[in-house]
Amino acid sequence: MFETTNLTEWLIRHGVSQAVLEILISICIVATIVSITRYVVGNRSYGIYAPIVLAIAYSYTGLRYGLTITFVVVLTSLLSYSVLRRIRMHYITRIATNYTILSIVLLAFLVFVHYYGLGLENMSNIPPLAFISIAILSDFFIKQFVKKSLKTSMATLLGTVAIAIIGWFVITRTLVSDFVLTNLWIIPALTLVNIFLGTFKGLRFKDYFRFRFNTKEDDK
């Protein structure tokens, strides 16, 4: 393939920082991963926004820190909402209360980590935006928990985190980031992949399990 180093350099000279360029390419890559996992595999996720933001947040926090924060966010949301749903109150106020509890728990968690380490000594160096990006997972989680069920929301959460981990893995490989930075044709190529996926009519991987009819014998 042809390299586009000159185009990259031109962009960087004309107001696009390398960090922004990397993030924009990351968005394209993770968005394509979401498309593939949705329409080819049949994986459930909280839309496309949550896995993209989560994958990019993990790339800033590191997977260990990112997953720890995710775990704290989900566990706190689950517990606080389980208690709050027993109290007669309006929906939005319940969600808002959930956020305030989440903030308190996260603060307490940071202090706890400061004192006891837990192998997470660099927690205080995590960029606040990455922190917030993971915390918004609470909203997606609770919304689905309320509308559907805990089981569905947990399954979707696992799907979302799984995609985010795959996305994190791909975008944090030096080999990948070096390659895409000097081969910007990858962006239109990913556009074509997504257009193809958009017209894909075949069965999803999960459908093969779902519609595995057992008509082998059986007198009923």
């Binding site: 309006h90 929906y91 696992l158 009519k201 519609f211």
Partner: protein, 491 residues
Amino acid sequence: MINRVVKMNKEILGLNRRNQEYVRPYNPPSAKVIADNKILTKRVLKKELIQTPEVYKLIRTKKQLEFLDWESLPKSFVIKPNKGTGGSGIIIFYGKTRGKLEWIRPNGTVMNKRDILLHIENILEGRFSMDSRNDIAIIEERIKTDSLLKQYSYKGVPDLRIICFNLVPVMAMLRLPTKRSNGTANLHSGAICTGIDIGTGITTYSMQMKKNPLFSDTYEMVDSTMDLKNNKPLSGIQIPNWNNILTIALKCQKVSGLGYIGVDIALDAEKGPVVFEINARPGLGIQVANQAGLKWRLEKIKDIKVKSINHGIRISKNLFGGEVEESIEAISGRKVLNITEKVYIYDKKTDLSKIKRGTKIKREYIKAFMDTGILTSRIDAKLANRIGYIKAHKDFTKYNTPSRFDSLKDAQDYIDKHEKEIISSTDIKRLAKIVEEGEIRVRPVFNIPIKISDNIEITEFVSTQSSENPYLLTIGRNDLKGYLIDTSGTF
């Protein structure tokens, strides 16, 4: 493996294809708006005189909720969001506490005025609505389930889902609430889905979603109802008013403008068929219930010009009735059998070539029941003994096969373990697991020549000991391929 994947791709309709080839091109946005709005649906269906649950109150604003006349609410009713999806936000009340503003839910819990107010406020705030925007709360009548289907349902209201395309009913299933589904007919919550033979309206296979399917929505086969005082086999139930139900489903399609539609119909004890809702993106679980793919069926009728509702029903019954997919090309030449038909059955040692030559052979003339609900034909053990299988039965008894099994899996395990040994020393062809008188049993299978209509064939028969079946012979689907069953004189 590759063959299986190719075969599945040919027959099964997946979400990708459903959306691209059927929902988008055949369901215009104006029609989707009707399907996604329960109030609008009721209005549109009313024009065609299609019955829907009666609306008691519509609450659009908190002000209206403030002035709701609680005393005027009946003992039993349903609250649902106008734009809800997947049954979320629906609450059913079965009764009222005497002298109090408290209503009782199917699981026995009680909701008072404050609880209900809060729930309605949540509906108004859009907590359950498709687009999370403000919604309308509907308070409507509770369907009182028809006595036949009530026997198979745990508390809630069972409903029929019929998928229609191009004015032809394509596939149907019955959804039965269970204890696990908390009285709802939602398959994801654990309701049982039972396939229906579209030709006769008789139930076939029954499936239930496995618990905690984190990876995939996988189902397992079930034989009978659960959690009821008297659990009953689910196969072979005749849905009453079947033709009328198909007609209603097609009327819904016609009036809504949806080319590809899922119609949910409940059977009310007094009103008869009542349309719950119409769906512009019906789920695909119906394929699991019927153990058959939708794709093939939809492609078959894509280009047919359907002249009327009756024409659509005739096409559907001819093409998809009696589970005759494999022999569809032979439809025009198929023979019609009555639901009970007299057949000849020949002795054990009969030489098939002698029958065909017309030599006089010992035979019995028996009234047989044609049952599309079972796969393999069945013979009463007494009749089998009469035609020469006494020794085979005695040999089978020697193996002390348990008289009942707890599950189909246990029965299959027993067959896998003992079948070779049993068939090696007896006249038994194989062993089969069957559900008989509500129990799972393993019974011997014999090869017996019979003559149905003018065809003489060696047929597999499972020997049964049912005291409930008045027929000594029951002919199953395996041996009914190529026939049309006329049920008109029976039901």
